[in-house]
């Protein structure tokens, strides 16, 4: 990365192009911000970074206890429930954690952004990537459980990067929208937190789709259902996802990423002045 050698304010900002070239030229900073995000959160704790690994496991453990043991009969998924749960928790934690931290990224960096020139979108991308790294770390216990429970790791697990990268695009796009809006209205973050929780419960993380009965088509209309289902298909079911699922996942990710970046780019000029 090189320092700015020439700045001309009359240079026209080209939506998408400017942002993506900023991501690339600021990759050194991006890497630093991601490690900062991952380490600072647990800096003053005994277990430190191990919390990254423990968090999804504990959530899964609690849900397994409640839904897998207490309500055993009502949550029959027809497959190992722990895997069903952990896979769902991992990907949806990526979504919810990523949305909340990415949405707050620009306002949190206001101290820097109002004093030093750094493209604001770099901060949003770094928090989304940090949530993605947490997800990747969480894959380790998932794979270990697959191996020890006899399910094994199917070759389709090689396709895990598809739903993971799609989720990264989705979180970055939606997160940029939230982050830009949060500059003007501070309660946007509270609203986001509630909506994210709503989406979490409406997505089959711990309940089987079949439980929805006549609402099943509605459940499947939620794009996040496709993300989670695709991830489960490739990670442990060993099933190639149907084509429509691939289209929904990759398509929604690209469209929302482009839309979020484009809206950000259009409103960028007023953003820093309002911080």
């Amino acid at each position: 990365m090189k320092a700015t050698t020439h700045y001309d304010s009359a240079q026209i900002r080209r939506p998408l192009l400017t942002e993506f070239s900023n991501f690339w030229s600021y990759r050194g900073l991006l890497r630093l911000l991601v490690t900062r995000d991952l380490t600072v959160r647990y800096k003053r704790s005994i277990l430190g970074v191990w919390w990254t690994l423990l968090n999804p496991l504990l959530t899964t453990g609690i849900m397994w206890l409640v839904f897998g043991q207490l309500f055993k009969n009502r949550f029959a998924t027809g497959e190992p429930y722990v895997l069903y749960l952990l896979a769902g928790v991992l990907l949806m934690t990526f979504f919810s954690q990523g949305m909340i931290s990415t949405g707050a990224a620009i306002t949190n960096a206001s101290g820097i952004l109002s004093k030093v020139y750094v493209p604001a979108e770099v901060f949003s991308l770094s928090t989304a990537v940090a949530a993605g790294v947490n997800f990747v770390i969480g894959l380790v216990p998932l794979l270990i459980i697959q191996l020890t429970s006899g399910v094994g790791i199917p070759w389709t697990a090689l396709l895990v990067p598809i739903p993971a990268l799609a989720m990264l695009g989705l979180v970055t796009g939606l997160g940029l929208l939230v982050a830009s809006a949060a500059v003007y209205f501070y309660d946007i973050l509270d609203i986001t937190r509630v909506l994210v929780q709503l989406v979490y419960y409406l997505t089959p993380v711990f309940w089987p789709v079949s439980i929805a009965g006549r609402f099943e088509p509605w459940v499947k209309a939620n794009p996040l259902f496709s993300y989670v289902d695709m991830f489960r298909n490739v990670a442990y079911r060993g099933v190639l996802p149907p084509l429509w699922e691939l289209v929904v996942v990759v398509g929604s990710s690209l469209v929302i990423l482009a839309f979020g970046v484009w809206v950000f780019s259009k409103g960028w000029k007023n953003l820093v002045g309002s911080l």
Binding site: M1, H6, S9, A10, R36, K115, F185, D187, N270
Partner: protein, 245 residues
Amino acid sequence: MNEVPVHVSDVSLAYRLARNRAGTFKEFAIQMLRRQVTIEKLWAVQHASFEVKRGEVFALIGPNGAGKTTLMKVVARVLPPTDGRVIVRGTLAPMISLGAGFNPELTGYENIVLYGTLLGRDPRDMRQSADRIADWAGLNEFMDVPVRAYSSGMLARLGFAIASDIDPDVLVVDEVLAVGDEAFQRKSFDRMMAMMNSGTAVLLVTHQLDKVLEMADRVLWLDKGRVKMIGEPKEVVGLYRESVG
């Protein structure tokens, strides 16, 4: 070819303020429904034009709220101008509230790397320069300590040491001349002077008019966002002092 490092032509900057500014989305939605939202433009700087040449010290003076800091931030690329054009040739080192990018939980060393990278330098390059920077700030023993344990003087010293570690083409300084104790103040003053002598263009904002007379080659007097005059330090500072009374 025009080789002036800082070129500001007819620059204006407006902050957009919503009347009865709604702080929350809820309020905004209600006002929107009642059609009470009007966006007002608050012009912080209007039609400012100037150039800063190589090795020149250009000072901005004016009362509080005149738009000095805003104009500096426009030059430092932090705020995009609403109208007009800014061109900066070469690397720019901003010294505006030093240490604003520090993370309290990270150590001194980690913050040197992070802050330097925020200023546009390469992280690898920063890791190599870290010792030199710590040395210069006199904070060698504290490099493995989280900066939340630093005193405000130590923070300011570290901030100045990082920001001044490069040899920039343009230096933007906002009221940071009074950093740390007297010994460090002299040290940082000397460093800035050395930069100026090596051809760095300096844009300086300060209320210390004696410093302006001592350092500046030219002075811009900003009043209510407009350029009142540009000229010789003695003349401009004299008239400014008269107007203030």
